[in-house]
Amino acid sequence: MRLMTKHLVWIKLLFHIIALSPIFILIMLVLSEQAGGDPVQYIIHYTGMGALNSLVAVLLISPIAKRFKQGLLMQTRRLVGLYVFGYATLHLMAFISLDLLFEWSLFIEEVIKRPYIIVGAVSFFVLTLLAISSFSLIRRKMAKRWQPLHNFIYLIAMLVPIHFYWSVKSEIIEPSIYIGLMLALLSLRLSTFKKMFQRFSTIVKPSNIPPSRAKKI
């Protein structure tokens, strides 16, 4: 069955429900004290996992759309991508509010000093740019520059599981699985990367620079 436009609203609704239900579960777990006596680390980890799992989901969409010839699914990428940003925001807010208790000087110090937090901060910064530029209006204005910016999602795909791996004390199995999973998802896009690389190299190759400009260089 080929998905049609009339199905899209239902698919999106389903995705919203899947993406939002963990929030309700979390609230329930915390209120019913099932997230431990001091659920701070639990909440930080949980929302971080929400962002990571959404990231896996968003990177799954285009391979699935291609494999099953469901082009319409591509239109759900923004929705899922914004949930990556949403969970990442909750994750960051939980860290700042619940763990650091709004001690901004400590936050800034940690962002500067701690490699794993730097990796997380860079990811969040790029995610913010992607989220802002996801508005149709901005996307239209960015025109050809939009896609190169959004290719940074592949960078995030590697940084986020590294951030996870780096943050744990000794429980490295789960983050390792995510690193492997991301590598697998990226390997499905080798042809895309090849094209990106070719385009990049044609830009920087001196032979491709017009003689008039070459002189200046």
Partner: protein
């Protein structure tokens, strides 16, 4: 059954404060099933059937008690006025439901969920090595051989959170004196029970976080003989719950929490520095001494301050400055004279 479950749900209502009479097994079994169902965490997993069953169980009468909850019993003791604190103690409920005890899982709520069936009686604690008379304490000896006292200590975790806990027990020195410390003894090695049948973390690397079990810790003989070093058999006046290290654990309040080894079966006096678990796992992050020191950061996070877990909800915690030796410098700073604490962290 039905009424009991309903009562539990009422007693867990978040707007009710100061209810220390929890029914742990109900919470724990619930939590266990939900966490298990959640598995990989958020997104996809949340819509699976098991997860939904777990959620709905919260509001149904099906919240069955799977296994008997661990039973703690009151201890007779006298408070030690030298070790009382003006700081507010961390509520009992939080002390017994926020634990690092990787033998029962790496998440904070795991030990309370997975340790309720832990068997502590019979128990044997062996004191051997460089001693005059090796001794073996069985379960009853743990609470009867020494006069018990209560001491309220700060507990500072290496992860930069802290609690204030009233422990019941006796000084480590009194135990070691009973065995007679030989002059050749320079260090004391401690070992946790190794029983993979009871401790799922010892069965599986995934559950146990990759620590080499059994968990081992160590002190210098001077640290061990310092009056602060405490063998706890109880907290809040009752015998220890398993998640807090039943039936007997070490409490060394001027060191990071991982030094305070739980569920001890062997104490061996040695003539060389013993191996310690976290140090073996990551020597650059966890030293042998592991004294609380705001001036020496963990390579991945600051140790200058800590989040004190006290009364109240999520936003009521406070971030306070971490003190050298966790505020016990007066008693222990002299032990480290001439030692470069940035090197011997």
């Amino acid at each position: 059954m039905t009424t009991k479950t309903k009562k539990w749900i009422l007693s867990q209502a978040p707007w009710q404060t100061k209810d220390h009479e929890v029914t742990p097994e109900a919470i724990f079994n619930q939590r266990r099933s939900i966490i298990k169902a959640m598995g990989l965490g958020a997104l996809g997993a949340s819509l699976s059937g098991t997860s939904q069953a777990g959620i709905f169980d919260l509001f149904s009468d099906k919240a069955k008690i799977e296994s008997a909850s661990f039973v703690t019993s009151p201890l007779s003791f006298s408070p030690n006025a030298n070790y009382s604190l003006t700081e507010a103690a961390t509520p009992h409920k939080k002390v017994i439901s926020h634990n690092n005890f990787y033998e029962f899982g790496t998440a904070k709520q795991d030990p309370a969920a997975n340790a309720q069936g832990f068997v502590v009686d019979p128990w044997q604690l062996v004191i051997d090595g460089e001693v005059e008379r090796p001794i073996t304490l069985d379960y009853d000896d743990l609470t009867k051989l020494f006069a018990l006292e209560e001491r309220t200590y700060r507990l500072r975790c290496v992860e930069a959170w802290s609690m204030v806990i009233p422990w019941t027990g006796f000084s480590l020195a009194s135990l070691l004196k009973k065995a007679g410390v030989k002059s050749s003894a320079t260090h004391v090695a401690f070992e946790t029970l190794h029983d993979p049948m009871q401790m799922p973390g010892q069965q599986s690397r995934r559950i146990g976080g990759g620590i080499h079990y059994p968990y081992v810790e160590g002190l210098t003989i001077d640290e061990a003989m310092n009056d602060l070093s405490f063998m706890a058999v109880g907290l809040y006046g009752k015998t220890l719950p398993p998640q807090n290290g039943a039936p007997i654990r070490l409490v060394v309040p001027w060191k990071y929490g991982f030094k305070s080894i739980k569920s001890i079966v062997r104490i061996t006096l040695t003539s060389s520095q013993p191996k310690t678990s976290w140090n073996q796992l990551a020597a650059n992050e966890y030293g042998f001494y592991a004294n609380v020191n705001p001036a020496v950061d963990h390579p991945r996070w600051s140790q200058a301050s800590e989040r004190r877990i006290g009364e109240g909800g999520l936003f009521s915690a406070k971030r306070i400055a971490t003190l050298p030796f966790n505020g016990y410098g007066e008693q222990v700073a002299s032990l480290y004279k001439g030692l470069d604490l940035t090197k011997f962290f």
